[in-house]
């Protein structure tokens, strides 16, 4: 049983393009049966924030390879990745590393 939570969800490195170009989102997650972990946050984001082309952000129940996740400025690898339990006032930043232009390079973003 999870209480409602207030968190900041941020998108960078180009990922914001999938969210109407909006980088910072103040989000209130409702109280619910299941705990609020990153896994469930992704489901919520897909349903409530993602505006287009979900396959560019989410793959399976995780983020697409090449998207970095920082929780309170720390790599989610150090914090349990999808299993990390969200706390009130947490800040979750999704940075895409996947595109841009380099000499001779193209991209599938």
């Amino acid at each position: 049983m999870a209480a409602p939570l207030s968190v900041e969800v941020e998108f960078g490195g180009g990922a914001e393009l999938l969210f109407d170009g909006v980088k910072k989102h103040q989000v209130t997650l409702p109280g619910q049966e299941e705990p609020w972990d990153i896994r469930n946050l992704l489901v919520w984001i897909k349903k409530n924030l993602l505006k287009e082309r979900p396959e560019l952000f989410i793959q399976g129940d995780s983020v697409r390879p090449g998207i970095l996740v920082l929780i309170n400025d720390a790599d989610w690898e150090l914090l349990g990745e999808l299993d990390y339990q969200l706390q009130d006032q947490d800040s979750i930043l999704f940075i895409s590393t996947l595109h841009g232009s380099r000499i001779g390079a193209g991209s599938t973003w």
């Binding site: 960078g12 490195g13 180009g14 393009l17 390879p65 090449g66 970095l68 920082l70 400025d73 720390a74 790599d75 690898e77 150090l78 914090l79 349990g80 930043l93 940075i95 895409s96 590393t97 996947l98 595109h99 841009g100 232009s101 380099r102 000499i103 001779g104 390079a105 193209g106 991209s107 599938t108 973003w109």
Partner: protein, 340 residues
């Protein structure tokens, strides 16, 4: 579970685990380590001697942004305007902000000026149609290198640096394997090209830095960079190599650097060695045929036959010509042109 303590300063909470060593470091210690490693790459490889005037290829993107302030020698930013509407303008705005922030002189060179009006948008219109790919990145890769060279000469540079990171290099290795480009595979190793045929020496100080770490460095140093996709990028073959690389990396994080190291250790079979390069009959640049790649591409565009110098079409320029029906496919002739 709470993040572990930083393995270097033991004071702050760790912000990331470095892919190669597995050490957990805080943001400040990571940035210091990253900078030290890039500096070591430059110094140990004797890539940029003291007194060098260095043209930094600046796209406005994260890699060139990270690069510019860290080398401590005379830097000039050179940005290339390929003439891609709606994309390059925003990227150039980012480069201008960076030039202002770091107080570095900026020179912009435009395809429109250098190549007789052939912007990338014009190239795309010329190669569009008949259901075939527009091959924009093929043109742009060659022309951009030439434009960067010109920009470097304009600012009196002695060296050129670009922000290619380990992921870029690994993708290039995969692409060259997939295309049977033996010569580029063998030449792709090493940290730089000494400069042949009058070309300026080039190097890539971030070549051994993984893309993830470049992004994290930019984040922790609060570097402002531009990250929208080039409008022609979805068509590029590199996208397939990138996708494969990301899958490989998820299974084996060291795969990116391992690929780069593999390419460094390759030796070519005698039959695959490229011919000694000559000079382009038009511009004098390094070339394995009568015309260098840039002149050959522009020639095709100006003659209304844009594919003349691309891929298999290029075989029309070989002495033997393309294989006839009934003849087996030959391996592509190795190109004696710079690998990057």
């Amino acid at each position: 579970m709470p993040a572990p303590q930083c393995a270097t300063c033991h004071k702050a909470r760790a912000a990331l685990r470095r892919p190669r060593s597995g050490r957990a470091l805080c943001g400040a210690c990571f940035c210091a380590a990253f900078e030290a490693e890039v500096l070591h790459t430059v110094v140990a490889g004797r890539l940029l001697p003291s007194g060098a005037v260095v043209a930094v290829g600046a796209s406005g993107g994260k890699d060139s942004t990270v690069l510019a302030p860290r080398l401590g020698i005379s830097l000039r930013l050179v940005a290339v305007d390929e003439g891609i509407g709606g994309y390059r303008d925003a990227a150039l705005a980012a480069v201008r902000r960076q030039a202002a922030r770091w107080e570095l002189p900026l020179t912009v060179v435009a395809y429109a000026d250098l190549f007789g009006g052939w912007t990338m948008d014009a190239v795309a219109r010329s190669t569009a149609g008949s259901g075939r790919s527009r091959a924009c990145c093929t043109f742009c890769g060659v022309l951009r290198r030439r434009a960067l060279e010109e920009g470097a000469r304009l600012v009196g540079a002695t060296h050129i640096v670009t922000g290619h990171n380990a992921d870029d290099m690994a993708e290039t290795v995969l692409m060259n394997f997939l295309r049977g480009d033996a010569a580029r595979l063998a030449r792709g190793g090493g940290l730089g090209s000494p400069g042949e045929g009058g070309a300026l020496p080039r190097c890539r100080p971030l070549q051994l830095a993984s893309q993830k770490e470049v992004v994290l460095y930019a984040h922790f140093r609060r570097l402002d960079y531009f990250s929208e996709e080039c409008v022609y990028a979805p068509e590029a073959f590199r996208g397939h190599a990138r996708h494969l690389l990301k899958l490989l990396e998820a299974a084996r994080p060291s795969a990116v650097l391992d690929l780069v190291h593999s390419a460094e250790r390759l030796a070519l079979a005698p039959a695959a060695r490229p011919p000694a390069p000559g000079a382009c009959s038009r511009c004098g640049a390094l070339a394995s045929r009568a015309l260098c790649q840039a002149c050959a591409l522009l020639d095709g565009l100006n003659r209304g036959r844009p594919r003349l110098a691309i891929g298999k079409g290029r075989r029309g320029l070989d002495e033997a010509g393309p294989p006839r029906d009934g003849e087996p496919e030959r391996a592509p002739a190795p190109d004696a042109v710079p690998a990057f």
